[in-house]
């Protein structure tokens, strides 16, 4: 089932201007993604955790997200140390673990986790409708925002249609296995999902026409930065400059 577990709340971060949160998240993600020094990355991880604690979210849901990302990270740790050339840090039988690769794996681990946590704290804490409006006010083209909001609106409806189709298939004794019958069944379910989506699109298009749609997208929500927003931007900018400074100082 699709849900937005972090979107609602009344923390200081939830109340902060979504535009500021979005821009902060984007700048922060790029700064972290492009940093290499461990001190800078460690500082970033601390900042992410501070942000997360400000957002006051369900810890269980956060760990679920961390598990997915770190599943991939573990895979990386299993593969790259033994396939990189260079100075060996240690050996397991015929395999020798490259120092360079271990450094890289550690960097990726820190970066992925830091970016993920900040994204949860800053972006996943707004309902998607709000995200769309914030994007629109940040000059993202109308068409793409309209498309995003339309997709968001109907993802739930389509998911329900899919669940209905699967129930209909299951009550007739369908048991998925690795065979052509299974794949054919799924192909028909997916096909039906797309057919229903297209038919609904036509009806929605008609509903829009009936209400005088003039090929223009209007955005009603307006945001105010307020004093909290200004303070947040200042603190966030200072923290980001700090991370950049650590990165540059250590790198040079």
């Amino acid at each position: 089932m699709i849900s937005e577990p972090f979107a609602l709340g009344n923390s200081p971060l939830h109340r902060c201007d979504p535009r500021i949160r979005l821009v902060s998240a984007a700048v922060y993600s790029f700064v972290v993604a492009l940093s290499h020094e461990f001190q800078a990355l460690a500082a970033a991880l601390v900042l992410s955790m501070v942000l997360l604690s400000l957002a006051r979210l369900q810890v269980r849901e956060i760990f679920k997200r961390l598990a997915v990302v770190n599943g991939l990270v573990v895979l990386l740790w299993l593969v790259i140390p033994f396939t990189f050339p260079g100075e060996a840090l240690f050996r397991i039988g015929p395999l020798h673990a490259s120092r360079q690769a271990i450094v890289l794996a550690a960097q990726i681990t820190l970066k992925s986790n830091a970016i993920l946590l900040a994204f949860i704290a800053l972006v996943a804490t707004m309902p998607l409708a709000t995200l769309g409006h914030a994007l629109n006010q940040l000059r993202v083209p109308d068409k793409i925002v309209h498309l995003l909001l339309m997709t968001y609106r109907y993802v739930f409806v389509l998911d329900q249609e899919y669940q209905r189709l699967m129930r209909a298939v299951k009550i007739r004794g369908f048991q998925p296995a690795t065979n052509l019958h299974t794949y054919r069944t799924y192909a028909y379910v997916v096909g039906m999902l797309f057919v229903r989506a297209a038919e609904r699109a036509e009806r929605v298009q008609q509903a829009m026409l009936c209400r005088g749609f003039k090929r223009k997208f209007y955005c009603l929500q307006e945001f105010k930065a307020g004093r909290g927003g200004v303070i947040f931007s200042l603190l966030m900018s200072a923290a980001l400059l700090g991370i950049v400074a650590i990165e540059l100082r250590t790198a040079l």
Binding site: E4, A33, L72, T83, K111, A124, M150, T151, G191
Partner: protein, 206 residues
Amino acid sequence: MHISEGVLSGPVLLSGAALAAAGTAIGLKKLDYDQIAKAGMLSGAFFVASLIHVPLGPMSVHLIMNGLVGLLLGWAAFPAILVALALQAVFFQFGGITALGVNTTLMALPAVFCYFAFSPLLFHRRPLVVLAAAFGCGFLSVFLSGVIASMALMFTEENFWSVAAMVVAAHVPIMIIEGIVTALCVVFLKKVQPSMLPAYSRKDGL
């Protein structure tokens, strides 16, 4: 298929973003405002389809279906896939802001390629050709996505070849499943609602 945040290098992230922006711009230009509902709905269907897990031996893999989206939307697959990936990032934190461009490119570029390569064959007289084209679309779209993902990894760090090879190898069974599902899906659509395929209106020209 997506690449996580924090893995790729700056130049790769920027090239991915630039390609995605260019593709999306073309897609939006070709997407008339009257088709917003259709593109949004198909983007939603693509999102839901990517949550479907099909069995593969003792494991299960999720469908990708970017080939089919390409067949249905052509260039408009770029904005549609971009939006679906943005939703995935916000809902599940699969991917994020920095890798959104790369992830969009690796899914949407093969979709557009498949549209131009295979949709002219979908209304061929011989059913076997149609089946082969649709299978090729499903298979190749995932294969090319794997190739682009590998390239993104290799350009980041040339020693990533092992990871890149793993990505492609792990997707071989998925390519076959996608090929089969896409082929049967096209057969289904041709029977039930052929007008959904853009190639339908041009079939007389073939």
